[in-house]
Symmetry: C2
Subunit: 444 residues, 2 copies
């Protein structure tokens, strides 16, 4: 528990005994996994509140031949709030496997991030998917208290205990990477880590950098960016764009009825497209396909259905050491706290010397690159290395600008909100550079 602020005695969180749990968490094999798996996988629960019986589920994949490598450790966090890092991050984006269209078997992702790192996927907060609280039911609960603050504390508690369970990673370079609403989680978690590192007598977490993907940084600026992006990408009429600019004051939250009409019109005009990837196909046939398989080169828009089927197979839940439960991608919360902007926290992190990369798939309509650029401009940072193309496999992978103080904005060409789903090779290129502390290659 919390013991006050004397560095010699300050223990921010409870550490539970972890003896033997790592071994217990090792996965023999995931049902339907392909042959030739050359890395170790673990999954299980870490208790973050003994009294409430609150426990977070994780899935951890090591690099191939990890005992011979010194690859860093990444914690991957999906957003929502309340969406699964297992279903999205691990099984649809950067994990070693994706689910075939049969919903039963897995195929290898050649561009998985465990090629260059050891990756933890965390299901959080409690209530999401496999993670749970014993004091929660359908009517009243722990889950009603979920918000940014409790999430940062629980995630930090998870991390400290996880490092007790896997002590060989305690001194390893540590990074956090995320997506979407996790643009809130990650700066807050990084702040919590940095604060506790200074004051704790527990594990000091060797935080080297954070990578925030299509992240929600500032509520008002993001709304403006979304509607600007609709117009500049020919999804909205001139009239709607002008109406929104005239009647909507997102920053002061004094949105008029006229604003409401025009934003409604904006949403109507778009039609039935995938707002998370505006040029992508939508899922027209969500049924499982017999004998049909997937390809990492051509992201299947019905992936959610295959993943949901796979993670609800009892043998899969058993292999993952998960509670038998009905797994769904996201859970709704009455979120208790949500600061309108995360930019001041981001500025503090930059000043602490932690490397900060803000990356953005440039086909995303939900948190478009325009919103991210407008948000970063508020920080008024000097440019260290100006806007230029970066390359992956002889093609432009996107663009990058490096600011003074360790912040870089990296766009990923041709990717939507789920960057590693749409552009797995480009995603692996830039994350490799990120982990090495260099900008991605500026020549083909």
């Amino acid at each position: 528990g919390l013991h006050g602020s004397n560095p010699s005695t300050y223990s921010p969180v409870c550490i539970e005994p972890q003896d033997g749990k790592m071994e217990a968490d090792e996965i023999d094999a995931l049902p339907g996994q392909p042959d030739g798996v050359d890395f170790d996988q673990y999954a299980g629960y870490v208790t973050v509140d003994q009294k409430a019986g609150r426990a977070l589920f994780y899935y951890f994949v090591e690099s191939p031949r990890n005992s011979l490598s010194n690859n860093p450790l990444i914690l991957w966090l999906n957003g929502g709030p309340g969406c699964s890092s297992l279903g999205y991050g691990a099984m649809s984006e950067l994990g070693p496997f994706r689910v075939n269209s049969d919903g039963q078997t897995l195929f290898r992702n050649d561009f998985a991030w465990n090629n260059v790192a050891n990756v933890i996927f965390l299901e959080f907060p409690a209530g999401v998917c496999f993670s749970f609280s014993n004091t929660s039911s359908n009517t009243s609960s722990d889950y009603d208290n979920a918000g940014d603050t409790t999430t940062a504390i629980d995630t930090y508690t998870f991390l400290v205990n996880w490092l007790e369970r896997f002590p060989q990673y305690k001194s390893r370079d540590f990074f956090i990477a995320d997506e979407s609403y996790a643009g809130h989680y990650v700066p807050q978690l990084a702040s919590t880590i940095l604060y506790n590192n200074e004051n704790t007598n527990q594990t000091v977490i060797n935080l080297k950098g954070i990578a925030v993907g299509n992240g929600l940084l500032d509520e008002a600026i993001t709304l403006r960016g979304i509607y600007d992006n609709f117009w500049t990408h020919a999804l909205n009429s001139d009239e709607t764009y002008k109406g929104i600019h005239k009647y909507c004051d997102f920053a002061n939250d004094t949105a008029s009825e006229k604003c409401f009409d025009f934003t409604g019109q904006a949403d109507d005009e778009i039609g039935d497209i995938d707002i998370y990837n505006i040029y992508a196909p939508i899922c027209l046939d969500s049924s499982l396909k017999n004998g049909s398989h997937g390809s990492v080169h051509d992201f299947d828009p019905c992936t959610d259905y295959y993943v949901e089927n796979y993670l609800n197979i009892p043998e899969v839940q058993k292999a993952l050491h998960a509670n038998q439960t009905e797994w769904t991608h996201c859970r709704d919360y009455a979120w208790t706290d949500r600061p309108p902007t995360i930019l001041p926290i981001l500025k503090n992190i930059i000043q602490s010397g932690v490397s900060v990369w803000i990356y953005s798939g440039d086909k995303d309509g939900r948190v478009p690159v325009a919103a991210t650029r407008f948000s970063l401009n508020v920080l008024k940072l000097g440019v260290k290395k100006g806007w230029h193309a970066w390359y992956s496999e002889k093609e432009v992978g996107g663009y990058v600008v490096e600011y003074e103080g360790g912040l870089a904005l990296v766009t990923v060409r041709g990717a939507g909100h789920l960057v590693p789903s749409n552009q797995p090779q480009r995603a692996l290129t830039f994350i490799s550079s990120f982990l090495q502390g260099t900008l991605p290659p500026s020549t083909p």
Copy 2:
């Protein structure tokens, strides 16, 4: 020749005898064409200036079972100025065949426009590819006189004579469709047709509509649109965008040296991408592939190389009734006239009652949809049916807004500059609606 303006005697162009030429132009089969071709093809030369020996090459594909259909006639024109409607339009975009990656054989385009129309592809002006002038050489020539005016006259002359050669099409509904710089050609040709229809005692051409694709409508507005599009699509830095807006006055052509610096910077920042389709792959291996084939669903960025190889095979040139020559995609001209804007001509055509569709692939960076929208706004037309999504095969095919007077702006989602190459099915959907005089479907 021109005989004055008395309607009863006014013959705008010379008509050459065409007896037997249609039959002579019929193509037995194109080398390497797939089995099951169920339509007729023709190719040959139409003389447009007897004295100069100037002749334009065309390739004509009828609808399947044309004798039973009353499908309209379309003239397709590529831009440049000086690029081939055979190499681009017919062999890479909307024609019945595309060239396999072996450079020797053809595959069927299921979404070819001859499913719904009879399509003429014209190589023009003289000097482009198979079209020629006998009074031209490498040093002096007819070719030096090429410009918008001469092109309109030659194209009109071609049409009148072609209709003599294929008299069964004289009364057929006639449409013109184009791309890029043909945004100049088509309104000018339409004007020429409309003027001569009123005054000629020759063939009256039954012009119903024109469809201009990613067309150059206004030089200054297009330049502004290009650089705005670079910025809004995250291809350029904020600094470059601001510099261009500050220092470039495209409308008054008083571009400063600073403007030149910033536009140069804009081009540098983009890196090595296909500006005609900003998210598409580029051609990394232009060699011909043995036994390798193409798919209409996945446009091969090296298509130009396969087409160039195919059209230089002597047997192919012979089958096309073309002169044996070195065929290349485009020819450079010292273009003699090029009005800075085509908008006043466009306005006249709208007022004449001819249907005008302006369509735009929304991934094009060369003549982006932003440029087209800014250009059309100059016409200050009332909106008849507001901006909304249109559908093709249950997906959003793009967006459409219909203006008063018969003008519609139609975007094609996920297409670049060569719309039917990138989105063949969506292109067929909207052109079918265009030919039927209706907007494309507004529900899935």
